[in-house]
């Protein structure tokens, strides 16, 4: 995959990623999975791992995707693409912001977009769960769903940092969500259950 193609696709994602962070994740997930560049599971994993990286998590997610597809040039192309159209629009809005918000139509548009953004975020959570939980392994799937609910409460109700939620999930995963030894003895080397992440 040539780096310029990554630059073009990420620029397209950036230009249509209205709705803040959720709009951006939604657009990235949809476009990358639709093009079969990543599985939904790989994207979900990168999105989670990016929480441990300092700075803006979505930029780190773009770097990870770019790197998986085309090494270091790919990561530069992906982050540059994700940055420039959104940045350009941000600058234009910065210059004209006073006019937009003093206008009742402008305020109404922003107010109408917020509930849609909330809906986008929930829809994305559903898509990610659908594509990355090993549903055939009932025990693991139920435990993962339980931790997703716990993580939701930790962050939404107890204001725990999302990086803590991810690290706790990773540690719990190593102990609880790993494939059981007996089953793995029959398939060496152990492969991820269908629909899960790993190297492309």
């Amino acid at each position: 995959m040539p780096a310029w193609k990554l630059l073009v696709v990420f620029s397209w994602i950036s230009a249509r990623s209205w709705g803040g962070g959720s709009g951006t994740i939604y657009a990235m997930h949809q476009e990358l999975v639709r093009r079969h560049w990543l599985t939904s599971a790989q994207f979900t994993l990168d999105f989670g791992l990016a929480r441990i990286v300092p700075g803006i998590n979505l930029l780190a997610t773009a770097v990870m995707t770019g790197y998986r597809l085309r090494g270091v040039p790919g990561s530069i192309a992906a982050i540059t693409g994700l940055m420039w159209p959104a940045s350009l629009i941000t600058v234009v809005i910065t210059i004209g912001f006073a006019q937009i918000m003093s206008n009742s139509i402008g305020t109404a548009m922003v107010q109408g977009a917020v509930p849609v953004t909330a809906a986008l975020t929930f829809a994305l959570a559903r898509d990610m769960a659908k594509g990355s939980v090993p549903w055939k392994d009932r025990r693991i799937a139920i435990l993962m769903a339980l931790y997703a609910v716990v993580c939701f409460f930790l962050v939404a109700a107890l204001q725990v940092s999302s990086a803590v939620g991810i690290i706790a999930g990773a540690l719990l995963g190593i102990v609880v969500f790993r494939p059981s030894e007996q089953r793995d003895a029959s398939r060496v080397p152990p492969t991820p259950t269908k629909g899960e992440g790993g190297a492309p």
Partner: protein, 176 residues
């Protein structure tokens, strides 16, 4: 402030935060409290712009950069938010190298489950304040149904929500 000085302020905030809005208190401390380059109003406006504009929420720093140093300030902020993201390459390499080991499969599942929980928490943080009025709640329910049950483009749903909100405002229905 010089380009280099601004770049270092933004880089520090970027390196010491995780997630778009966490850099806010650090930048506020450096640019308002310590140096007095900006005021609280500039920050409030920059955050609102970050919400309206496309891209990650953390791009509000570009507006802060603009208020603090014009076009050079935007470039300083953009470079500073992009650089730390490259640390993620180490994570991908480590994960690819170790993929398939049972403990890594477990870790991957743990991170995945957390991601789903985090996204739901994010959705909740948007939904909680925005659905107080019946009109906003209606927009939320209808867009969620469209997104979950049809293949309609997300951008169309977003545009539709904004359009409905404008019409409701014109006929005098409160949204928030």
């Amino acid at each position: 402030m010089s380009f280099v000085e601004l770049f270092l302020v933004f880089l520090k905030a970027s390196l010491l935060s995780s997630g778009g809005l966490q850099s806010l208190p650090l930048l506020r401390d450096d640019l308002i409290v310590q140096r007095g380059v900006l005021n609280e109003g500039d920050f409030a406006t920059a955050i609102s712009i970050g919400r309206v504009a496309p891209g990650p929420n953390g791009l509000f720093v570009l507006s802060v950069g603009f208020y603090a140093g014009g076009i050079a300030g935007i470039l300083a902020a953009a470079l500073a938010v992009m650089l730390p993201s490259f640390l993620a390459i180490g994570l991908v390499r480590a994960h690819t190298h170790l993929a398939g080991r049972p403990w890594v499969v477990g870790l991957t599942r743990g991170v995945t489950a957390s991601s789903v929980g985090l996204l739901s928490a994010l959705g909740y943080s948007f939904a909680a304040p925005s659905v107080a009025e019946p009109a906003s709640f209606g927009i939320f329910v209808i867009s969620l149904a469209l997104l979950l049950m049809t293949k309609v483009d997300a951008l169309l749903v977003l545009g539709g929500g904004a359009l409905v909100a404008v019409i409701l405002t014109l006929v005098g229905v409160p949204l928030a």
